[in-house]
């Protein structure tokens, strides 16, 4: 269900915490699982629960509480744009509108070809670089003018 490499990353996380506190690695384990599967299905979450010795419901609670976990299938690229006030004052609303227009979807929508899912984000802690976007949770893109967005979209095949 999770690759050997992924398991190694989860084990490295487990080693950071006291031996009886394997549950502390659940956030990393879910992040790894999502990276490999695209989203967190019940089967994947049950696997994580078994691996960490947690009740499955405790894993579901974590997965549904933290905003960067996806319980539903997303496009190949999940684009999250921060529209909070500091970003909005520096062009984030325009960036979001440009994304909606170009992709032809609203927030939480996925393009028909399954390439992009657009999400509205809350503060990434990078307001000085506004507008900012997060691609598949891991890559931060700064100063996203409409031109920069067009370049990014062309790059993400």
């Amino acid at each position: 269900m999770i690759s050997a490499q992924g398991i190694a990353r989860i084990d490295a996380a487990i080693a950071k915490y006291p031996a009886q506190e394997r549950q502390s690695a659940v956030m990393t384990a879910l992040a790894v699982a999502q990276e490999e599967h695209g989203h967190l299905s019940t089967e994947v979450m049950d696997f994580v629960a078994g691996y960490l010795g947690m009740p499955p419901v405790a894993v579901y609670e974590v997965a549904s509480f933290y905003g960067m976990y996806d319980l539903e299938k997303t496009g190949r690229y999940k684009l999250c744009v921060c529209t909070n006030l500091p970003c909005a004052l520096s062009g984030a609303v325009e960036a979001a509108e440009h994304l909606k227009r170009t992709l032809g979807v609203e927030f939480n929508g996925t393009t028909p070809d399954g390439r992009f899912t657009l999400k509205e984000g809350e503060c990434f802690g990078a307001c000085g670089d506004a507008p900012v976007m997060l691609i598949n949770n891991k890559r931060m893109a700064s100063f996203m003018s409409p031109e920069a967005i067009d370049r990014l979209l062309a790059e993400l095949k």
Binding site: Q23, Y69, T83, L89, G128, L134, R139
Partner: protein, 445 residues
């Protein structure tokens, strides 16, 4: 891996920078940090056999106050940790930076990660903790990866791990990442999150110093707070205090965002006039007039621009002006901005991020957002303004953590200082100011 960390002039953080002194965007590695004098504070402690109590006394003398938002005296917080506790104790660094407008910890961690590591080792030694965690905001994944690299460097060089610098003190430090929950910036929610649970704040008391991570004595400090510690050890608490003002020791990194010409982080002495800070950020964008400033992150009261132009940037001066220094996130709004729309976005944020544990916050943040949204979209009612204040008053102080207060404060302060804009919106169903108001006026003419 994000490669968007371009090099820059070391003076970009300001001429008085201490934490970010000599940092140029590329020189974050251990060798660079050592070349800047890094880990000398730690060596000094072990060479001179400085006792933990003496370190805490020095931090108290420095008047270093928590840089995450609350401004609580750091030395005092450290002294709350039980001395003779027989079991495990923890130190935790709160790098879950998600207070809108705040982006200083990200720059500290990506450009100068070792200063945080050194500060945490010193803090752990002073409080007798042997294990620590740095909880890093999930959205800045590349920073989390870089911090892991820095930890590996520090371990290999003997600054971290077993028998640090060949002495008797051992300290294991690990990075823990969040995954998108503002509430985990609250220290007990953060501890719950490290334990692998939903990040819902705990009742206090007991405070973390007696019942913290895994139920053990724990101290949680902000990234910038730990980053200030090595300088204090090297130069003394009195010298640090002298950098700032009485009761407001040291330098502070202010995150300037919004309608300024050069948004970014600026490290200045506490007590620097706001007008000087604004000038460092290039002044107002497009030469427009300043209208409003939130001086300490979105949870702090907004102040009219003219009040801020006469205020100095330290905890006590900003409190006297009617707001709080908070995390040092300065959100600047110019004359074209509609205050209703600005508040609407903030209210949506607190509604979205309420953890749902306490009824006044879970339900109240939704009420606040829906009412401000109604006013913004031209469906406001005259009685809404009083209802907003009343709902705010019924959230604040009635919840386990401060998120309820944080949702109430913007609403009350925006209405207090810009009531006529809200009233105009309700009466005329459009903005009193701003490009959109002007455009609609033109269309109507």
């Amino acid at each position: 891996m994000n490669t968007a960390h371009p090099p820059f002039d070391p003076l970009v953080f300001g001429p008085d920078a201490q934490i970010m002194k000599g940092v140029d965007g590329l020189n974050w590695r251990l060798a660079d940090y050592e070349a800047r004098g890094g880990y000398r504070a730690l060596k000094k402690i072990f060479a001179e056999k400085i006792a933990p109590d003496a370190l805490i006394a020095e931090v108290k003398k420095s008047a270093l106050r928590g840089r995450g938002g609350a401004g609580f005296p750091t030395g005092l917080k450290w002294s709350f940790m039980p001395r003779q506790f027989p079991g495990q104790k923890y130190v935790v660094c709160n790098s879950d930076e998600g207070e809108p407008g705040t982006f200083k910890d990200r720059d500290i961690l990506r450009y100068n990660p070792h200063v945080v590591i050194e500060g945490m080792v010193i803090g752990a030694y002073a409080m007798g903790a042997t294990v620590g965690y740095n909880y890093i905001h999930g959205e800045i994944w590349d920073v989390y990866e870089r911090f892991e690299e820095a930890l590996a460097e520090a371990r290999a060089a003997g600054y971290l791990g077993d028998r640090i610098l060949g002495g008797d003190f051992s300290f294991q430090l690990h990075a823990h990442h969040g995954y998108g929950a503002y509430i985990c910036g609250e220290e007990t929610a953060l501890l719950e999150s490290i334990e692998g649970k939903k990040g819902q704040p705990r009742f206090k008391p007991p405070f973390p110093a007696s019942f913290g991570l895994y139920g053990k004595p724990t101290t949680v400090n902000n990234t910038e707070t730990f980053a200030a510690v090595p300088w204090i050890v090297l130069n003394g608490g009195a010298a640090y205090l002298d950098l700032g003002r009485p009761n407001n020791g040291g330098t502070k990194i202010f995150s300037m965002s919004g309608d300024v010409a050069r948004p970014g982080n600026y490290e200045v002495r506490l007590g620097t006039p706001f007008a000087a800070l604004l000038e460092m950020a290039g002044g107002m964008r497009g030469g427009r007039r300043i209208k409003a400033v939130i001086p300490g992150g979105s949870s702090m009261p907004v102040l009219p621009g003219e009040v801020m132009m006469k205020t100095d940037m330290d905890y006590d001066s900003i409190a006297k002006a009617g707001s709080m220094l908070g995390s040092g996130a300065v959100i600047v709004m110019d004359e074209t901005r509609c205050m209703v729309r600005c508040l609407e976005r903030l209210s949506y944020f607190y509604f979205e991020e309420s953890c749902g544990q306490c009824t006044p916050c879970r339900e109240g943040t939704g009420w606040l957002y829906r009412m401000v949204h109604r006013i913004e979209t031209g469906r406001g009612r005259t009685e809404d303004l009083d209802t907003l204040v009343s709902v705010s008053d019924n959230i604040a102080g009635r919840t386990i953590c401060a998120l309820g207060d944080a949702a109430a404060i913007p609403v009350k302060s925006f209405i207090q200082h810009f009531r006529e804009e809200f009233a105009h919106h309700i009466e005329h169903k459009r903005c009193m100011v701003g490009e959109r108001g002007a455009a609609r006026d033109k269309a109507a003419a």
